[in-house]
C-alpha cells in the first residue's frame, strides 16, 4: 500500500512536472541563422502540439508554418547550467490565440520579421519559447518573443515561472484551507447525525434480535448457549 502511494505520487509529480515544463516559458540564448515557411500536414498525434490557425483565419488540415532556425547555446539541467557548445534548434512561430496556452500571442508575423532582421546580422539573441522539440514527431517549441543581447553570457531570471509557482503554492494552501473548513463545518456534522441515526437503528435491531434469539433459545435443549 505504501509503495503504491509512493508510485502514484511520483507519477503525478512527473506528469505535472512535464506539463509545466511544456507550458511555462523558457529562455534560450541563440544566434538566429534564418527564417523560413514550410507547409505542414498535421497527423492525429502531433496535431495537439500545434496551435490553431492564425487568429482571425480558418482552420485547415494543411497550412504553412513559420519556422525560426537558430544555433543555440547548449545547457544542462533545464537551462540552469550554461555550456560553451552550440547546437541547432528550430522554433515554430505560431499565434496561440485566446485559449491555450494562455500567452495571447497574435503577432507571429511581427516576430518573424524581427527574427529575419536579427538573422541578417551576427548578434546573439534570447528567444523566449514554450514547448519541446520532438524530432520523430516533427514537433517544435513555439517562440513567443525575441530580443538581442550584447553577449551570450546573460543572466536570465525566469520571473514568470517564479511568480507562477508562488501563486500556485498560495492557491493550493487556500484550497486546502477551504476544504478543511468545508469538512469541519458541513461534512462532519452531517456524518455525525447520520452516524447517530445508524447507531439508533443498530441498537433497535440488536434489541429485536436479542428478543428473537432468547425466544429461539427456549426451544433448544438444556445445552443452550449461556446468555450474555
Amino acid at each position: 500500500m505504501h509503495r503504491l502511494k509512493v508510485t502514484v505520487r511520483v507519477l503525478a509529480l512527473l506528469v505535472f512536472g512535464a506539463f509545466f515544463h511544456y507550458v511555462l516559458p523558457q529562455h534560450d540564448v541563440v544566434k538566429i541563422t534564418s527564417t523560413e515557411v514550410i507547409r505542414t500536414d498535421f497527423s492525429a498525434y502531433n496535431r495537439i502540439f500545434y496551435a490553431q490557425a492564425d487568429s482571425g483565419g480558418v482552420d485547415q488540415p494543411t497550412r504553412d508554418l513559420r519556422l525560426i532556425n537558430t544555433d543555440k547555446k547548449k545547457t544542462f539541467l533545464l537551462g540552469f547550467v550554461p555550456r560553451d557548445s552550440t547546437g541547432v534548434m528550430v522554433y515554430r512561430n505560431e499565434d496561440t490565440g485566446w485559449i491555450w496556452p494562455p500567452y495571447f500571442k497574435f503577432d507571429s508575423s511581427d516576430l518573424q520579421a524581427e527574427a529575419a532582421r536579427i538573422a541578417k546580422g551576427d548578434e546573439w539573441a534570447v528567444i523566449t519559447h514554450y514547448g519541446w522539440r520532438i524530432r520523430w514527431a516533427s514537433i517544435y517549441p513555439n517562440a513567443i518573443g525575441v530580443r538581442t543581447v550584447a553577449s551570450p553570457d546573460v543572466t536570465i531570471i525566469p520571473w514568470v515561472s517564479i511568480v507562477f509557482f508562488g501563486f500556485l503554492m498560495v492557491a493550493l494552501a487556500f484550497i486546502r484551507a477551504m476544504w478543511r473548513q468545508f469538512r469541519e463545518r458541513t461534512v462532519d456534522p452531517l456524518l455525525e447525525s447520520a452516524g447517530e441515526r445508524v447507531d439508533e437503528v443498530q441498537a433497535g435491531v440488536a434489541k429485536r434480535k436479542g428478543r428473537l434469539s432468547r425466544w429461539l433459545a427456549t426451544w433448544r435443549g438444556k445445552d443452550k448457549p449461556s446468555q450474555k
Binding site: 490553431q52 485559449i99 494562455p102 495571447f104 500571442k105 497574435f106 503577432d107 524581427e114 473548513q181 463545518r185
Partner: protein
Amino acid sequence: MGFIKLVVFGFIGLSIIYVSIAVYSKSVRRERLEDEFDANPPEGADAAARDTYIAEGMAAYHRSLRPKLIGLVYVVPLIVVSVIVYVINTN
C-alpha cells in the same frame, strides 16, 4: 471564436471560484462569531441570544468591505490577461 469561448468559459470558471471563496469567507466569519460568543457568553444567555448575536455579526459582515473585495476574482484575471496581451504583442 476563441475570444467568445475565453469570455464565456472564463466567466463560468471565475464564477465557480467566486462562489467558493464567498461561501468560505462567510463560513469562517460565522465560526469566529460562534467562538466569540461561546468563549464569553453574557449572563443568562440562551440559544436565541446566540442566534441573534450571530445574525447581527453576519449582517455586519455583509455590510463590510470584505465580501466586496471577493469581486476582485473577476477584476484581477482581466487585468492580468490585458497585461499579457500588451506585453506579448508589443515589440
